[in-house]
Each structure stands twice: as C-alpha cells, then as structure tokens.
Amino acid sequence: MALVPKVPDVLAEMAGQMVRAADPAMPDAESASGLGLSALLLGLAAEMFDKAAHLLFTENRAVRALLGQGARTIPDAAFAGRLRALSHGVDEDLRVSALQAQNGVLRAALIELHIAAEGADGPAARALETAIWEELVDSSERRKLAGSPV
C-alpha cells in the first residue's frame, strides 16, 4: 500500500471524472474503461482509509526505535545526535497527512542509518542491520493490500 498520490486528491479527481462519465455524450467504451479503473481505486481507497493512520503511527514508532538503536551504535557523533533527536519524536497530530510527513522524514533517516550500519564493523552493527531488514519486512506486511500479488 502506498499513499502517494494522496487519497483525498485522487478521490476528488475521480468524483469529477464520474460526473463527466455520466454525460450521455461520453462514448460508452471510454466511459466504461474510466469507471472500471475508478472502481478499482475506490476499493483500494476503502482498504487504505481504515488502516492508514494505524500503520503509519506503528511504523513511525518502530523506525524511531531503530534510530535510537542506531544512535547507540554509530560512532559518528553528529549523526548519532541527529538520530537521537529523531528517535525522541512523538506523533501528536494523527491526521494521515501529518503522519505521512513524519514517516517520510523518518524513513529518509532510516536509509542513512542502513548505509552507516552496512559500513560499520562489529556485532552491534550487524545486529542493527538485521533489525533494519526485519523492520522493512514488517513494514511490507503492514502495508500489504488484500489483493497483493506478493
């Protein structure tokens, strides 16, 4: 499940397209094609609507924990300080758009941390690397749609 483009933007656009598809002047084949895909998107939006906030909240918490682990593992003091600051964040605004913005910041830091862990030596770095991969697997489970091919 991806949340880009944003669900409200897509729903608003689809509403306009449905109005146009209802125009008797619209050719049947074109109207049917557009409506069929719009129906698919409505189904995906319905599935995402219920769980989007929960999964983003859960994921942000999990990534913050990893960044905290990274702050204790990575020798680069400046980077460790930035990781520590991010790990102390809290999601107070529970709108999906706000959670999503935080998610973007946290996952960008996770990529940096992953690179640092890959380049670091020692069992703590290996454990961190494994923990990051486990979170990436968990994230894909949280985001999995009912009709996912994988």
Binding site: E30, S33, P149
Partner: protein, 339 residues
Amino acid sequence: MTLEARLAAYIARRMPEAREVAVRDLARIAGGASRETYRFRLTWTGDGQARERKLILRRDPPASLIDTERRIEFEAYRAFHGSAVPVPEMLWLEEEDAALDHPFFVAEEIVGCQASPALLWAEPYLAVHDALGRAMWTILGEIARAEPEALGLDRVMPSVAADACWDRELSYWEGVLDADEAEPLPTTRAAIRWLRAHPPPPAQKVGVVHGDYRTGNFLFDEAGRIHGILDWEMAHLGDPLEDLGWSLNPVWTFGRAKAGGLVDRDAAIEVWESASGLRADPDALHWWELFNCVKGQAIWVSSARVWLDGGAREPIVVYPAWAMMNAQDRATLQVMGWL
C-alpha cells in the same frame, strides 16, 4: 473534426490509391498507461471493391508513465513480424503532432484472442497453463536468440558493450527513482546498493531485450497458444537475462507462486534455455531478478510522479502507485531472501 475523421483523413493520405476511406467503431481499449490504445474498423474502396480491415491506433497521451521512443517500439514490432516471435503487423508511424495532436502508430489488430491476465485464473484457461507457459518462455528464448544486426535493430537501438549492460540499465532506473520518487524507499535503495556491490558477469551476448515481457503483455487463446507479443515500448539492446528476470518478477506471479502465474520457475528457465541457446547462470539471473525489482519500483514511482506533476489525471496512473509499490517492495525482499 472528430478523432475518427482526422484518422481517416490521415490514412487516406497514406493510401492514395484507396477511395472512400472511413474509420468506424473507434473505441478506446482499457489500460494502456504509456499509450492510448484504440481499436477501429477501416473501410475503403480499392480496385472497385469494398474492403475492410480491423486495426489498432496507439497514440501518445499528454503525459505518460514511461518515457519511450515510439520509433524504437515501431521498429521492434516490424523487425519481428513474420518470425517465430508473433507480433501484429505495423502499418504507419507518425511522429509529428499535426495529424492527431500527438505522435501515434497504426497496426493490425490480431482478432479472436484475449489479452487480460485476469481471464487466465479461470477455465477454460486454467487447463492450458502449461502450454501457455511453454509458449511464453519459448518465444522469449526466440527473442534472446535473435541477432539485432540481422533484424536491423542495431541501427535504431543504442549499442552497449556486454560488460556494460548491467550498469547502463541500473544507472538509468536509479536516475528515474532519483528524479521521480515522492517518498523515501529504504528497501529499493538497499537493493540498489547490493546490486552495485555485486555486479553480474558480462552478458553472454548483447541481444534484443523486450523490456516488459510478462504475463499480461501477450495475446492468447483457449488452446494455450500465443498469437502476439505486445508492448515493446521499452525494447533495447542488452543482456537477454534482463528479460528473463522481468518475466520471473514475483509481482507477475499474480499471487500464484508460479512463474508468470503459469508454470514452475525451473520449467520456465529450462524452456528459455532450450529456445535461446543461452544459459541462465543462477547468480547472474538472481542479479537481474533483483534489478527488475528496482526497475519495477521506478516505473510505479514514475506513475505517481505523472499525477503529482499535474500530468495525466487518469486512474491508470494512480493504480500502479497504490497497488504495486508495496508489492514490489515485498518482491524485492523475497528475491533478497528476507521474505
């Protein structure tokens, strides 16, 4: 003037001997994220007789999720027409905007077949999965066996050295991700780092790569025969293992745990090796399978970018981003052994 009338006027200019040229029953076909696709009946009078032919119009949309070179696509179809690789006959390519607002080409419609993969998971097609799978990877092997020079495709497709195929493709799609991603992609970025750290051996040969060879991009019948390979818009020269890797991408299993949703993975590879005369070295193939997870993600990301930049506001550009990005992450994790 309607699209029908403008298309008829264009074709009349391309068929100066024909009289009373008309386009009838023009209807858009669902899907087609990179081109708008229409079917229509062309009627005309020639040699004093009324004539008719079913044709396809593929027109560039105002914005596309894949940046492609339509001449390369057109020439790829034309090169394979009449060979062991079944493709529709190409008729006219128009690269200017004047005739129909955007570039387009017109091709024969292969009639009496199905294209939708959704049909494959029910009878009567369930019974012919083995035949379809064998046909699918035999034809892919034939594409790999083909010599670009003999087909004239070396004149339209950029050349690449056997040891540079992987870097050219990976750099291109990594560049697409850099330009188009709207959210960080930790799984895909980790895959790219792994790919760069573990390059594959040089290609056994530099061949024609279809670029989007998968279940869903061919026309099939109830007997398990394939009558047309479609969607050559990403065709290029490169390592034939690239196509094999894309065909085995877990997102194209349709949740059925079989290659292309059709046959066991080992059987697909065996058929491809037999038809191509090439070897699918397991390590090299693994590299290309993971690469294709990156490529897939880049395509889905580009789809979202089309919307975000105010290009096409069609459902077809939203669907890949919403439905496929996490599935592609899961495919990546699966290929890397984490899932």
